[in-house]
């Protein structure tokens, strides 16, 4: 009688140690609640002017940072409420978590570097210099959003809350149905988004005008987490977990601009940067090998580069 009980206890211990070691349990036990300063309280001084510029670039990135943006996306497309919303990768939570070691680069990176990366991948564009107005303004805005937050802390609402593994493997056909029912109204049946004049009102979800194969959102788990909490806009947390997984898979099972780290070999690039489950780069879906015929990265900056 004693042995199974002890075994059980040992297993329980192992389980809890494992959980504590993982970032998730750490985040749950020590995450600190935080509220950014009210949106309308930007200081009325020289510092505030830079905060305001950063806010505006955040909301109208394509318009105001055009030399560095190759698609038609704006920061606010993935960081809702001007980067203020908990559960939507808020900037105040990101700001206090840097400098940090990043496995993507294998280096300790500053927040400026992190912002620059967004331009290369999510914006499918070009790296703005760290001392450019674009990076300085964005970083100043994010610093202001994090006013009075402790540095190095894990703040509640950071990133996108990872979903539990789905009951059923994410599926293209089910995802397509979810997409038609909940997403196509705004993002279009072809995923190309919708514009009013030059302004992209509903961002493109795949194709040459969307984020490229190097952006975080191309991973199915990240997209599922974002979608579950935030989509359809104003109806966050209404889709089931399974629906969010399926539609994230469907979205990312379409081709998009090439990974800027592409070295000419799909297989090598896949092995080096995309060797994770839930990363569809290099996968064959409906007869298409994703990434194989992807348009080169850089979007509409391609024609502008000499």
């Amino acid at each position: 009688m004693n042995t199974p009980m002890r075994r059980f206890t040992t297993a329980l211990l192992a389980l809890s140690t494992g959980l504590a070691a993982s970032g998730l349990a750490h985040a749950q036990s020590t995450a600190i609640p935080f509220t950014p300063p009210p949106a309308d309280s930007i200081p009325d001084n020289e510092f505030g002017k830079m905060v305001k510029l950063g806010q505006d670039i955040f909301l109208q990135t394509k318009l105001l940072a055009s030399p560095y943006v190759g698609n038609s996306m704006n920061c606010v497309n993935c960081h809702l409420d001007a980067g203020r919303l908990a559960g939507s990768a808020p900037m105040w939570a990101g700001y206090v978590a840097f400098p940090a070691y990043r496995s993507k680069s294998g280096k300790v990176e500053t927040y400026s570097r992190r912002i620059q990366e967004c331009f290369i991948y999510s914006m499918n564009g070009k790296l703005p210099p760290a001392d450019s107005d674009v990076v300085v303004a964005l970083e100043t805005y994010m610093y202001w959003l994090a006013t009075n937050a402790p540095t190095g802390a894990t703040l509640e609402g950071r990133g996108y809350k990872r979903l539990p593994e789905p009951a059923q493997k994410p599926d293209y056909v089910r995802g397509q149905k979810v997409y038609a029912q909940h997403c196509a109204l705004c993002h279009g049946a072809d995923g190309a988004g919708q514009r009013v004049g030059k302004e992209m009102v509903f961002p493109a979800l795949w194709g040459d005008n969307s984020y490229n194969w190097g952006a975080g959102m191309h991973t199915v788990s990240t997209a599922a987490a974002f979608i579950k909490a935030n989509m359809p806009l104003g109806q966050g947390n209404t889709l089931t977990d399974q629906d969010a997984w399926d539609v994230a898979y469907y979205m990312n099972a379409h081709d998009r601009p090439q990974d800027p780290r592409y070295n000419g070999s799909l297989e090598e690039t896949r092995k080096k940067f995309h060797n994770e489950p839930g990363d569809l780069y290099g996968a064959e879906i409906n007869g298409v090998v994703l990434g194989k015929n992807a348009p080169p990265s850089g979007g509409d900056l391609r024609s502008n580069t000499p």
Binding site: A39, D40, I42, K52, Q55, D56, L59, Q60, L80, D81, A82, R84, L85, H182, L185, C186, Q194, V196, G197, K198, E199, V201, F202, P232, L233, G234, Q235, G236
Partner: protein
């Protein structure tokens, strides 16, 4: 050949009304169907039909709206047609529009929607469509809600779907700019109380329920005054 020329000569001698009557006899129902949808819509809009009051009576000669009657000019064809259906089925309750929409055939609804969708909107779409007020005055609650939303109450900015300046986006999201404040407030209240069908994916039905009466007043006033304010040189 001579017979045809003679017939034409004779025709040209007839008074206008008789000409029209003769033409009407010659055009088959099939040809009528094939005739330009928007032209049929124009006739209905300006002259009305059996049981259908001419739209221009309340919505203005160019569909530009009158008093608290909303403009129709430039609104999406699908949006207009779906609203006529909703009036007819009374899922959008409106004592004036219900009998009119009920008297209309499906073809008439389609035609009149096509006609109004092709008319120029009452505002300068290109100028207004660039207007995003990213940091409105502190006390302008309407401008904040319209441009930035109120995420404490899960309210996205109106312009996220209705387009910058509220000029409308795609076929499903109508223009709001310059609609009468009373009309806008009435619609939001109707969604809030379930008197108007909740719209595609229940979007507006859900959103209006989370809006306070103060927010409804403020945002209605904001969009109502937008086109005049957006004109170049106008005071902001």
């Amino acid at each position: 050949m001579r017979r045809l020329v003679n017939a034409m000569r004779l025709y040209s001698l007839l008074p206008g009304l008789a000409q029209a009557a003769l033409l009407a006899c010659l055009i088959s129902p099939l040809q009528l169907q094939a005739a330009n949808l928007a032209d049929n819509g124009e006739a209905l809009a300006t002259k009305g039909a059996a049981g259908v009051l001419a739209c221009v009576t309340c919505h203005g000669a160019q569909g530009q709206g009158m008093a608290s009657f909303p403009y129709l000019a430039g609104q999406g064809e699908n949006y207009l047609a779906s609203q006529l259906d909703a009036f007819a089925s009374e899922t959008r309750k409106n004592p004036i529009m219900a009998p009119i929409a009920k008297a209309m055939t499906a073809e008439q609804k389609q035609a009149v929607s096509a006609y109004y969708a092709r008319l120029k909107p009452a505002f300068d779409r290109d100028t207004l469509g660039q207007l995003i007020d990213t940091y409105p005055a502190k006390d302008n609650a309407g401008a904040w809600l319209a441009n930035r939303g109120d995420w404490n109450n899960n309210l996205p900015a109106c312009i996220k779907c209705h387009g910058p300046g509220g000029v409308g986006a795609g076929t499903a999201f109508p223009a709001l700019a310059g609609l009468p404040a009373a009309y806008l407030a009435e619609q939001l209240q109707a969604w809030k109380s379930g008197q108007r069908e909740p719209g595609p994916q229940h979007l507006m039905g859900d959103i209006a329920k989370r809006m306070s009466d103060e927010q409804i007043q403020a945002v209605s006033a904001y969009f109502a005054t937008l086109p005049a304010k957006a004109l170049p040189g106008a005071e902001k």
